[in-house]
Structures are given as C-alpha cells and as structure tokens.
Amino acid sequence: MRKTYTNLVALIVALSVLLTACAGATPTPATTPTPMIKEVIKEVPAAPKPQSLTIYSGRSETLVDPIIQQFGQATGIEVAVKYAKTAQLAATLQEEGEKSPADIFFAQDPGGLGAVEDMLVRLPDGMLDQVSGWAHSPDGRWVGISGRARVVVYNTERLTESDLPDSIFAFTDPQWKGRIGWPPTNASFQTMVTAMRVIWGEDKTRQWLLGIQANDPKIYPKNTPTVAAAGAGEIDVGFVNHYYLYRFLQEHGESFAARNYHLPSGGPGALVMVAGAGILSTSGSKEAAQRFLKFMLSPVAQQYFTGQTFEYPLVEGVKTNRLLTPLNEITRPQIDLGGLKDIRSTQALFRETGILP
C-alpha cells in the first residue's frame, strides 16, 4: 500500500512538473495574467505610459490583422485584439457591461453596433464628416470603415447578365423555382430585409419573402457557402454580399463559374452597407481609440480595404479596386444605415412567414 502511495505522489509530481514545463514553453505572452501587468503600470506613473488598446473585432483576423498591425507599428500603441463573430461580441459587451476591457468595437455590420449603441461614445464631428451621412450612425456613435454591396451572385454556365431582372422582387416569379439560394440567418441578409421593410413597407416585404419561399430556395448558413454553391451550379442565383466572390476567384482562378450582378433598379437589393467601429464609453484609452479610428479612415487603411479585402472605400479620393463595380455606378437605395435598427420587427416577419423558427 505504501508503494501505491509513493506511486501516486510520483504521478502528481510528474504531472505538475510537466504542466509547469508546458506553461513555461507556451509561446503566447497572453498566458501570463494580464491584470498583474496593469497593476505594475498603475504603480509607475512617472515613466511615459505606453499606450495600449483593446479591440473586439467581429471582422475576421485574416482580413483585418495586417492593417491593425500596421496601426500598431505606425503609432507605437500596443494593440490587443479579440476576434469572434460580431453578434457574439455584441452579446459579450452587453454581459461585461461596465467591466468590459474593450476600447473599440469593430463590427461586421451596423446591426451589431446598433445593439450596443448605448455603450458607445459620440464621435467627433470631424471624424464623422469624413464619410457620407448614410455611412455613420445618426447620433454619431459609430462610423463606417468600409463598404459592402448587396448583389445577386449567378452561375455563369446557366445564365448571363441579360437573363437577370432589374429588381430583386422579380425573383418571386415562378420561373426561378428551385434555382435560388439564400442565407436567411446571415446578418447582412437580414439587414437587407430590414431595408426592404423601410423602403417597400411590411406588406411588400412579406410578399417578397413568401414569393421567394414559394420558389423553394436552398438555405445556406452564410454567404461563403452560398457563393460556393453558385459557383458549383448547385443554385443559379444567390443573394449575398459582393466581396466573397473575389476571394473565390483568388482561390480557384477565373474558371470559378460565378459572377456578381448589381441590381440596377436602386431598390433594397442594391443596398450598400458598411463594416464600422465605435469607442466604448467605459474605455480608459479613448485618445488611442480615436487615433485608431482616424487611422482606419486614412487613405492607407482605406486603400488596404479595397485592395486586399475587396470592399469599398468610404472616404473621398481613394481609388476603388478595379475588379469592383465602382460605387458611383451602383444605384443604391437612398437610405441611412442608422435607420436599419429595428431588427426585432424583421425577426418577427421571418417568424410570421415561417422562414425562420
């Protein structure tokens, strides 16, 4: 029995040694508890305080990390980023409340920003004025950083542009039965339906939803698989954001059998939305946070977004990626994105039409 005891003790010792070794070997600095570092910084007020910034980013790391790094190098500000889905980060911010360590919320869509709007500060007018009025929140709590257009992605083996209608409403025609794909749970798609409610009204939006539903659309969880399905010929047309296509073209080459179509009628099907950001009112680094937003609106960053992520620059004087249809050739509906906040009513409509549970 004594032997067993010894074995047990040996096992525990071995395990702890192993774990300490692992802990020592872990390369990420983040494993050391951050609060301790903050403590130290507080105790030494004399030294010039190295500024730091914590960003919650709903935009994916692959897309925005390079430009965030560039900001860090240019300013010497230490940037820490938490990446997750926009909606999940919005919920996280709500749960954290005043204790949130975040300074900036960088979101995929206005919906996520709208959900935490009361936790954000009003941005200076000079910053807001850099983008058009429709691209920031009406009371100035978030600002659009890059633009994304709603498009119809179509399979080029089955269709040409001339086969496609002017308005998204026309897809309720029975000739499109079994040929449509959509991602009804996707935030951008839902924002488009909210725009429909604002532009068309509830009745016509309901008609559209029911009409598409009657055409047996294929349901996808998000944009990427919808575009993939259009390229593979699983569907003829899909309702998506414009930039996913270019990533597929990059990955698969020109032979990828799908292209974008911008609906020319100026209805909600041609909505242009933004990814944007705001500053948390609980932030202890508001100055650094403002510098971050300024940087994101600078020509360097704007050029990065259109060049690398295939989005639209929102600031005057920055050249749009030549692969994209320029924003001024798109007849986008004339509405403010800040007016697309009532997502609960959109949800109710989805439930009523039986499209979502």
């Binding site: 029995m1 067993t4 005891y5 047990l8 395990l15 774990l19 692992c22 070997a25 872990t26 390369p27 990420t28 600095p29 983040a30 494993t31 508890p33 951050t34 609060p35 914590t54 994916s60 790391e61 692959t62 980023v81 938490k82 990446y83 997750a84 889905k85 909606a87 999940q88 919005a90 919920a91 996280t92 749960e95 954290e96 409340g97 204790k99 360590p101 919906g111 996520g112 959900a115 749970t185 935030a187 294929k218 349901i219 996808y220 969880p221 990427t224 698989p225 593979a232 699983e234 996913y244 990533r247 990955e251 997502i343 609960r344 949800q347 989805f350 439930r351 039986g354 979502l356 549970p357």
Partner: protein, 535 residues
C-alpha cells in the same frame, strides 16, 4: 450479497469528497442561474415565442435527431469495440486508434467537408461524372446529412466507454454461459451486453446531449434544431433574453434525458463477485468473418476520417503549391495541447468526487449532484460562454480572460465526458475490496487513495483523454473567454474558414487531428497495459 453493498452505502462519505462535489455542483449551476436571471428580464413577446406550436415542433426535431444519432452511434460503437478488443481482427491496434479519431473533428469542419466531398455537386460527383456520367448525387442536406455527420463524429463517445469496460470485464461470466451450452451470440446478447450496459448508457448519454447542443453540423446541413433556434436569437436577433428563455427549455429536455438514463441504471451491480486477478478473455477468431469486419472498420474510418483528412491534405498541398504561407501553427498547437491538458486534469479532479458519491453513496442529493453536472454539456457552447462572461467580468474580474477562467469554462462544458468514464469504472470496483482496507484500519480517505484510485485509473485516464480531445476542438468558449491574443488550433481553423481560405484553415484542422491522435495512441497503449495487467 446485497447487504454488503448496503453497508458501504450507509457509511458516511469523507467530508473532503462531499465538499468538493458540492463545489463542483455549484460551478455547474452557474450557467443556469445566469439563464434564469436573463430570462426573467424577458418581455411578453419572448413568452409568446416560447409557447408557439412551432417551438414544440423544433424541439421534436431535436429529440428525433438525438434519438437516431444515439441509436446509430451505439450500434457502430459496440461492434467496433468488440472487434477491436475481443477479436483477432487484422491491424487491431491501428483500428483502435483510427476509429476514435473522428471525435476530434469539429462538427462545423466535418459537416463542411462532407458537403464538399459528398454534396450534390461535390468532389465525389465530379470524380464520378467523367467515367459514369453521374450529374447529381442524392441530397445530403437536412436530416440525412445531419444524422450521418453527427453519428460519424460522435459514436467515439460510446466506443471509448465500451472499450474501457470490455477490457475490464471478467471473462468468467461469459465462460460460464458458454460452458452451459449457450452459443457465442447468445452469450454476447445475454451476458456481455447487459454487463456493458452502464458503459453503453454513459456513452450514449454523451452522444444524445452532444447532438442536442451541436450547432456547426446542423446549421451547415440545414436541419433546424432547438440549438439552432437559440443561436439564431443571438446571431440574427441579437436578443439574449429570448435566447436564454429558449435555453431553459433545452435544460429541461436535457434533464429529462439524464433522468431517463438514470432510471435505466436500476440497482444492478457490475463488479466481480470475487477478488482476484483479471484475466484477459480468449480472443475470438474471426475466420472468414474477418473480411466483412475489416470492411466495416474500413468503411467507418473512410467516411469519418479518411475522406475528411484527404480533402484537408489536398487543400494544404494545393495551398503550399500556390506559395501560401501556413502561418505559425506550431505555437498554436502547443497552446491547444496546454489548455486541453489542463482541462483534462480539472475535469478529472472534479469528476472523481461526484462519481464516487453517486456510485458509493447513492441517494437523492448525490444523484442530483451528478445529474446537474451534465447540463454544461447539453447547452450550446455560446450559452455557457456568455454565462461565464457575465460572472467572470462582473464578479471575478482579476481572472476574467485568463487561462484560469477558460479552464473553468472547459470544466463546466466537459465534466460529463470525464464523469461517465469515472462512474463506469467505479461501478466495476467491488466495494468489498474497500471494506477490506477499512477493516484493516485505513480511514476512508486512505482507502480511496490506496485502493479505489489505482483501480479506477484506467477509466479515469480514458475520461481524461476524452476531455483532452473535445477541448481541442472547442470554439465558442475559447473565443470569448481566452486571454486576448491567445490562439488555439480550433480558433485558427475557425478564423481561416470563416472567410473561405481553405489552405489556411486546413493546416490547423489537420494538426488538431495529429495532436489528438497522439493522445489517443497513448490512451490505447495504457488501456492495453491496464487491461492485461493485474487489477
């Protein structure tokens, strides 16, 4: 015989055990407290949402999926376990490792790969189009696809518990049956299978709860389940009160499943009647049956592991050929192994007292403790993550977004995976051995350390390995609760796949499988050693 067992039940458990079990239960209750707090803030429209016919219909879809996946997983797992433990199946040890690995494939990766591979216009179709002119494969979306992928990814839960039980099973009972003239099949059905019941039930419970809580596979394969509806409230409606109200319904469903499993346990005892060395049972010679057996193992491994891995390898190779940098995956792999290892330790430490109480001191309270422990596993990861964001940020701010709280979250999520294994192996330890130690003057704690722990080492190790594997692929809690900038293989895979960068997503996904297979190999080596050694 019964009075002996009773006597053990009547002795008071040591305070250390009680206290730690109570602490664990308190931790497991946290998410439910959070859900109740949030749901209480809900307005009338949320209650309307809850009491619609449609809500019930979606709940029914979840139940049907969970039932079918559990049934199919159990059949596959019991056959595989028997083949890899009891027979002379060629390459048996390899199959033992390979057939467990599908467990580590995150469901959103597995589902995506199945669609790419077997979808109506997927790789298989393109492969067949040339020679055979097949233009379209049957639809895999909806129930068939969701059921297929969830079964393939979750049968290992049952396989692990049943394998561990088979290794420890006393062959004497089976030999007695055979000597009484019952055939091999009759013996399996009437002796082996009933003896395996606790192990099967423990694994099946995990499969059922996992299926209930899965989001990745059902969303990609378009099968509306209750968890999907909960996610929708977070992601589309940005409505955490409605999500919480719906989650409470899921808690109720999960609790009833846990209680169902508990009633199936009954009062049977599963330990050997005598104290002696465990013998290895005779190896069954498969003869010409080895070919169908091989085909079965091969088929499962092909669909659950080989096809997904082949696609991943294809993407990585294509990415490297295109000059794509795969990034810093090695440090990330170390991070994954580090937190998964800690999670395994934490879960085992938490599972032992709970399992010990429920096996040795069954009673209303200890049973309740054990059943509550399953709730974290049955709830969608995002719910647990947000609950701990709330408690972490507001009440234990210093450890918020540190590894400590992350490990705590893993414990809340994955305790049941260690608990089932610990429980099943405790059931196979005769209380008489412990009583002998007590009668020789050992305190209950000494007895536990000297007798019980060494005897359950086997099951506990397999439980720890299981926790390690499921932690490797955990996503929502890791994203929200990890220290800022801390990356794991799962978060790297997600980050890349969310924007359709195939090669970049494939490399970390492959590494998840590689690191995990190391853990599985160690475990199966331990298993064999323990199984063939003396008890």
């Amino acid at each position: 015989m019964a009075p002996v067992g009773r006597a053990a039940g009547a002795a008071r458990p040591p305070a250390v055990v009680w206290l730690s079990a109570a602490l664990v239960a308190a931790a497991m209750v946290l998410p439910m407290v959070y859900l109740v707090v949030r749901a209480l803030g809900a307005g009338a429209e949320v209650w309307e949402l809850l009491f619609r016919g449609r809500t019930l219909a979606i709940l029914a879809r979840s139940v049907v999926l969970a039932a079918v996946v559990t049934g199919a997983s159990t059949v596959i797992a019991v056959v595989l376990a028997w083949l890899t433990v009891r027979t002379d199946l060629p390459l048996r040890r390899w199959w033992a490792v390979l057939t467990i690995l599908p467990l580590v494939i995150p469901s959103y990766v597995g589902a995506f790969l199945i669609i790419v591979g077997l979808g109506p216009r997927g790789m298989l179709q393109q492969f067949l189009e040339g020679p055979l002119g097949i233009e379209r494969l049957p639809e895999i979306y909806g129930f068939p696809g969701a059921m297929l992928i969830l079964t393939l990814l979750s049968y290992p839960y049952v396989l692990l518990t049943v394998r561990a039980a088979l290794w420890r099973l006393d062959p004497a009972l089976e030999e007695a049956s055979l000597s009484l003239g019952h055939g091999a099949w009759d013996t399996f059905r009437r002796v082996t299978l009933p003896l395996l019941r606790p192990a099967i039930a423990a694994g099946a419970l995990l499969v059922a709860l996992y299926t209930l809580s899965d989001f990745g596979a059902v969303s990609l394969l378009r099968y509306e389940t209750f968890t999907w509806a909960i996610y929708l409230q977070y992601e589309a409606a940005l409505d955490r009160t409605a999500a919480s109200a719906l989650s409470l319904v899921l808690v109720a469903l999960a609790l009833s499943i846990v209680f169902l499993e508990a009633t199936s346990r009954g009062r049977a005892r599963y330990h050997r009647s005598t104290v002696g060395a465990v013998r290895r049972p005779a190896t069954v010679r498969l003869g010409k049956w080895r070919w169908p057996a091989l085909a079965f193992c091969g088929g499962i491994a092909l669909f659950a592991l080989a096809i997904p891995m082949a696609i991943l390898v294809y993407w990585v190779v294509r990415g490297i050929a295109a000059g794509e940098a795969l990034g810093q995956v090695w440090g990330v792999a170390l991070n994954s192994a580090y937190v998964s290892g800690l999670a395994a330790l934490a879960c085992v430490a938490a599972a032992l007292p709970v399992a010990y109480l429920s096996v040795r001191h069954p009673g209303r309270i200890s049973n309740l403790l054990e059943r509550i422990s399953y709730m974290g596993f049955a709830l969608p990861g995002i719910v647990i993550a947000l609950a701990l964001v709330f408690f972490g940020a507001n009440f234990v701010t210093p450890i918020y977004q540190t590894v400590a709280l992350l490990i705590f979250a893993y414990m809340v999520l994955f305790l049941p995976t260690a608990l089932g294994a610990a429980r099943a192996s405790l059931l196979q330890v005769s209380p008489r051995v412990e009583e002998a130690a007590r009668s020789l003057g050992r305190t209950p704690l000494q007895t536990m350390a000297a007798i019980t722990l060494p005897l359950v080492r086997q099951g506990v190790l397999s439980g720890a390995a299981l926790v390690f594997l499921v932690t490797m692929k955990e996503l929502p809690a890791t994203l929200l609760l990890s220290p800022i900038g801390f990356k794991t293989l799962a978060t790297t895979t997600w980050a890349a796949s969310s924007e359709a960068f195939f090669a970049k997503a494939a490399a970390p996904a492959l590494l998840i499988i590689a690191v995990s297979s190391l853990a599985v190999a160690i475990m199966s080596w331990q298993e064999r050693r323990g199984g063939s050694g003396s008890g």
